[in-house]
Symmetry: C2
Subunit: 387 residues, 2 copies
């Protein structure tokens, strides 16, 4: 059903505003081509506020304002602090990131999804050519776990100083995460079937399934939540007999993401372990220059999801218009995909944007040495205009 969409655009810091600037005209163009009714407002809330102003990074009513929108499209957050600090790239990067966690927590965007698929023309880091077949979805728990920010420092600065940080995992959050992982596996298998494709995942009893969920824990060293995850996983799996189950310890999983990533389908992980695996997944997709990501509340479409490239604000190259906008453009396409569940025009727009980006990537890979945020964006525009 066609409808109208309102999105909040948050350019953020550093290269964020550059890649957003390069993306919006393409998003506009692709939407017009598809007849998609898409509107946006720019919300310029850079985190430079924390050192230039009163330390506040978003207005007090930020969440209320943002909840008026259907989705959020963000460039990048992260500012290394005042330029007067010579070690600013090295020794400070924490302070200005909190808005990201505020948005995730404020809207209970409990899942972070990052697909890994090597687009034609994207850089292949692995020597084995099966790296071209990588096709996985990493689903990260985004609301609790290692990121509850409960901790402190005792006897600060003294030889007996002790810092603590608590990890908190609930069965409720574990269940919704893993249920979503199983459902995503089923959906992916159905999509493959529609395209006439199948994949086979071996079960322990020798039989095969057409999709798989791999659970990640470090239950041999962090047993409490590792066993909770394992128990919930085993229980839920009985409701999804068509999906094969698998488990990897986080250290082995990182290794296997480099050794044989084509073996994975859906991967479900905790907040920190998912953070690590999604960065590795980005590399498998061709690097930070092309890796989109999404924070969402899968069980409630009325809550605006937050779409952002996996890359950060890259303060070292900010202001020079050197950043590759491809990841941001693919992030916009991911947002269109999400809208496409309700509105076929959005799916069409996503298709236009993604195909043009792929054509550009392929052409760039075949010899053109195109660099520069705006040059790349114009290159993609060229392919969009041809569609």
């Amino acid at each position: 059903m066609r409808r109208s969409w309102r999105i909040a655009v948050l350019p953020g810091d550093g290269i964020g505003s550059e890649v957003v600037g390069a993306t919006l005209p393409l998003l506009r163009h692709a939407s017009q081509m598809a007849g998609l009714d898409l509107n946006w407002d720019m919300l310029p809330w850079p985190s430079t506020a924390w050192h230039e102003d009163n330390g506040q990074m978003m207005p007090d009513d930020a969440l209320a304002q943002l909840s008026q929108y259907d989705a959020m499209l963000m460039g990048a957050l992260g500012d290394p602090g005042p330029t007067s600090n010579p070690n600013r790239y090295l020794l400070s990067d924490g302070v200005s990131l909190s808005p990201l966690l505020t948005l995730r927590k404020g809207f209970d965007l409990w899942a972070c999804e990052r697909p890994a698929q090597l687009l034609e023309g994207a850089h292949q880091y692995l020597a084995d050519d099966r790296a071209r077949d990588v096709d996985m979805l990493v689903i990260r728990e985004n609301s609790e776990g290692e990121y509850v920010n409960q901790g402190g420092r005792l006897h600060r600065g003294t030889p007996r100083e002790t810092a603590t940080q608590l990890e908190v995992f609930t069965r409720a959050a574990t269940e919704r995460l893993l249920r979503h992982a199983f459902e995503s596996a089923q959906r992916r298998a159905a999509e493959r079937k529609e395209k006439g494709q199948t994949r086979h995942f071996k079960r322990l009893d020798g039989s095969h399934a057409t999709s798989q969920v791999c659970l990640i824990t470090k239950r041999n060293a962090l047993p409490e939540w590792g066993e909770l995850y394992t128990e919930v996983f085993e229980q839920l799996s009985q409701r999804y007999p068509d999906v094969a189950i698998h488990h990897e310890l986080i250290d082995a999983a990182c290794m296997k993401f480099v050794q044989a990533p084509w073996q994975f389908d859906v991967v479900a992980a905790s907040n920190l372990q998912g953070d690590i695996l999604t960065d590795l997944a980005a590399i498998l997709s061709g690097g930070m220059g092309v890796a989109p990501s999404c924070n969402l509340k899968p069980d409630d479409r009325s809550v605006p999801p937050l779409f952002e490239p996996t890359h950060g604000s890259a303060p070292d190259i900010a202001g020079q218009h050197l950043a590759d906008p491809t990841a941001m453009i693919l992030t916009a396409a991911m947002m269109l995909d999400w809208m496409g569940v309700e509105d076929p025009a959005a799916s069409d727009a996503a298709e236009h944007l993604r195909r043009a980006t792929e054509a550009s990537l392929k052409a760039r890979n075949e010899g053109s040495t195109l660099t520069g945020t705006d040059n790349i964006s114009q290159h993609i525009e060229h392919f969009l205009a041809q569609r």
Copy 2:
């Protein structure tokens, strides 16, 4: 100074006893060639005890017995549990690993070191040929942090279940870890200089250093210990002005281990983050089949270090003599290196063992399709005999 050495050999579980069996004759031979006075006792304490016996995996006086030795050489620990459990590979692997943590904690082996260097003939996973230049040392905190095993499960099995796990970091352990990292960087630069090699690491002010320590944290999401690590790092760095300093967040570090690992020198990380990075470092060295590791107390040579391959007990192939013993043989060479600080004969033996292993790897890579634990060991023996 020549002296006599006593080591405790702990074959452990699964492929552990197979690779140990394949390594000891070579260790004997190399020692004899070098005139090294080396003796060992076999301590067969497999963790199968936990399901076959009373759940106890080592005798009560294990630590007392082991403290009589100069070093420990372990195959692998980890048993998937009773064969009667059909999901044993999938859903249980925690229980039997505790002896490893018991040994690390019991002897306060607070550093775990895993070098990454791609031996000639070892498998290159990365497409970029600079992967051959990788030369780093990952030093992992091995005594606290995420692995303090303080946690619990509240309202177990109910919808409101909550699992917690505490992370505890002390300034004392952080200081000894990072001091050791800086000293290791200096030692590595001196060793390079001796061989007529230099590496250059850029500082923020544009100048260059001949070695570098890269600190790993996740201080933007786990600020308490991340800031403690950063403060201690900054303070200590002033005492090592010849060493360049660098910082990476764990997610970015994993990415860079795949994108450009040749840029790293010494990498210092917490227990869990180090666990992850050392597994990736193993891949950079050519995979689990060739990756040695060591747990030690760098400030006290009277405490026996624990040498073990990075790989686990691989229950899926255990009993079939399929495992590559190379990692175990290189672990034995790492042990000889450690002895070599006091006893030149041990350095000679390490040299023999390592060169023969490299020659075999190279020959195997050039076309021979040798497999099987004992075949590979005999192949290496052949090159040892030629020296």
